[in-house]
């Protein structure tokens, strides 16, 4: 409904504005049109995708969008292939929200942010040509990478990270202190504290998280 207090603009002025609004995303070098953030490519058990307030069973090939929340039950696993080629394997008992996932027209990730409320995921993050962060937030801190193969497990009181290749920076939400975790190393972070200094993870520790995120 138009506001009677304001004079209406001539209709001719509306068409260019409308056209510009439609064309703007195409002219922008950064953003593609509403492509899905990723696709479900592996599934075991009855996982749920919550999208726009609607909850439904996850299906192979199903697209997931920014804002969607994925819940994997205690007997399930799920794997996503993201729009930039990154692969995220989600372990049983995990609740994950895709908070942001910007990809340009060439399929290069701009900034990606996942919110891990609970559980464990493995992220094989695709490399990009220019600086673009891939970040996972938890209740107690955040982990950021550019390209790497790594694990992050989070809960309301702690998070821990293990890195197979590349390196990850883990930052405490409370103290803002960071630790860099290189390949073959891992570290923990407890609520309200500095990150625990990293250490070399044993092959058994990596084997455990690989098994939990291995989606057939």
């Amino acid at each position: 409904m138009s506001n009677p207090e304001k004079p209406m603009k001539p209709r001719a002025l509306h068409y260019p504005l409308f056209a510009a609004a439609l064309l703007l995303p195409l002219l922008s070098p950064g953003l593609a049109l509403a492509a899905p953030a990723g696709t479900v490519v592996g599934l075991s058990g009855a996982s749920i995708v919550e999208s726009g307030g609607a909850r439904g069973a996850a299906k192979l090939g199903q697209p997931v969008q920014v804002g969607d929340t994925i819940e994997v039950p205690a007997d399930g696993k799920l794997k996503l292939r993201m729009a930039d080629g990154s692969v995220i394997s989600v372990a049983a008992g995990t609740r994950l929200t895709i908070a942001a996932y910007g990809v340009d027209a060439a399929g290069q990730r701009q900034d990606a942010r996942l919110s891990l409320a609970q559980g464990l995921l493995r992220a094989v993050v695709a490399p990009v040509e220019r600086p673009a962060r891939f970040e996972v937030d938890t209740a107690v801190g955040a982990a950021a990478v550019r390209s790497t193969d790594w694990f992050v497990e989070g809960s309301a009181t702690a998070m821990q990270i293990g890195v197979l290749t590349g390196s990850v920076e883990m930052t405490s939400a409370a103290t803002k202190r960071s630790e860099t975790i290189p390949a073959r190393w891992g570290a923990r972070l407890e609520a309200g504290r500095d990150p625990v200094p990293p250490r070399v993870w044993s092959p058994a520790e990596f084997a455990a998280v690989i098994a939990r995120t291995d989606v057939k």
Binding site: R177, W185, R193, R199
Partner: protein, 302 residues
């Protein structure tokens, strides 16, 4: 290791007239959320991929012309993992001995190697246990600098225990590490020696990350005050060797992949030394700075 060699060359060889005890390696190691910083006097308690250098100087008894008045050592050590639990150690020490009214003597100590196996890692209890075998090759160093013509073999056990699993509040950052070795000389008159030692340390990084994050200055957050205590006790026929005890209070600062530490060297008897010395060490974690190349075990999954 450096200090043991220095004590060997400076104290044992020059004061007691015997050869040096075997060298050992120091570095950091970890179990669970507990990191044991690199020690300067006592050995590393687990295998690792490290390179470090240390320098020490210590006054000696002096006396008549030609007597040793000061010993200084410069040691470089390289440690390499074969598997994630098995590793080797190589080190070399250069010694300078200042004398009363005479020129200084200098030269290399005997080449020293070791092999270590990490036998027990109990992460919840912040405990680890390692067995090792050290081998000093006699006659490979300069006798004028105190290197013994006789080699020695030293089976050793190592341990580390953090107190973080106990409900003791602000004492949880405390940890104790240590080792006990029995050095068996190849030939007499070099004596056999029992070499026990321990370290008490309080980790500020552990306090900040596991107990309570206090508003401490950045520099303080990386500090671990610690005190090392090392004994050498003749085992069997002493050949003039006496029991020595050295106390080394100091502090270690941990950066990302490196540590810098400094300690005083306080002899507790005339047989140990005369006057307070000092030791400093720079330690580089190769498994941190080059985790996918020289910093990984030789035999490990790709």
């Amino acid at each position: 290791m450096g200090l043991r060699k220095s004590c060997a060359a400076a104290v044992a060889a020059l004061v007691l007239g015997v050869g040096s005890p075997a060298n050992r390696a120091n570095a950091y190691s970890a179990t669970g959320d507990r990191l044991f910083p690199a020690t300067l006097v006592l050995p590393q308690i687990a295998p690792g991929d490290e390179f470090y250098v240390n320098a020490m100087t210590m006054p000696l008894a002096g006396g008549t012309a030609g007597a040793a008045s000061r010993a200084s050592n410069f040691t470089a050590t390289y440690t390499k993992t074969i598997t994630d639990r098995l590793g080797i150690v190589l080190d070399e020490t250069w010694t300078r001995i200042d004398r009363v009214g005479a020129g200084s003597l200098n030269g290399w100590q005997n080449t020293d190697t070791a092999i270590k196996y990490l036998a027990i890692v109990d992460q919840p209890h912040e405990f680890l246990f390692t067995v090792g075998l050290d081998r000093e090759f006699g006659g490979t160093g300069a006798s004028r600098a105190g290197a013994s013509a006789s080699g020695a073999t030293t089976p050793t056990v190592f341990f580390g225990k953090g107190l973080g699993d106990l409900d003791i509040g602000y004492w949880r950052p405390l940890a104790v590490t240590g080792s006990v070795g029995y050095q068996i000389a190849d030939t007499h008159p070099r004596p056999n020696l029992v070499t026990p030692g321990f370290v008490v340390e309080y980790s500020i990084p552990y306090l900040q990350s596991k107990v309570q994050s206090l508003d401490l200055p950045e520099f303080v957050r990386g500090l671990t005050p610690m005190t090392e205590v090392l004994f050498t006790i003749p085992g069997g026929q002493s050949f003039g060797a006496r029991t020595t005890a050295l106390v080394a209070p100091g502090v270690s600062y941990a950066g990302e992949g490196w540590e810098l530490a400094i300690e005083g060297l306080v002899p507790t008897s005339r047989a140990t030394g005369r006057g307070v010395g000092a030791i400093a060490q720079f330690h580089l974690s190769l498994d941190f700075v080059a985790p996918e190349t020289i910093g990984r075990p030789l035999l490990s999954a790709p």
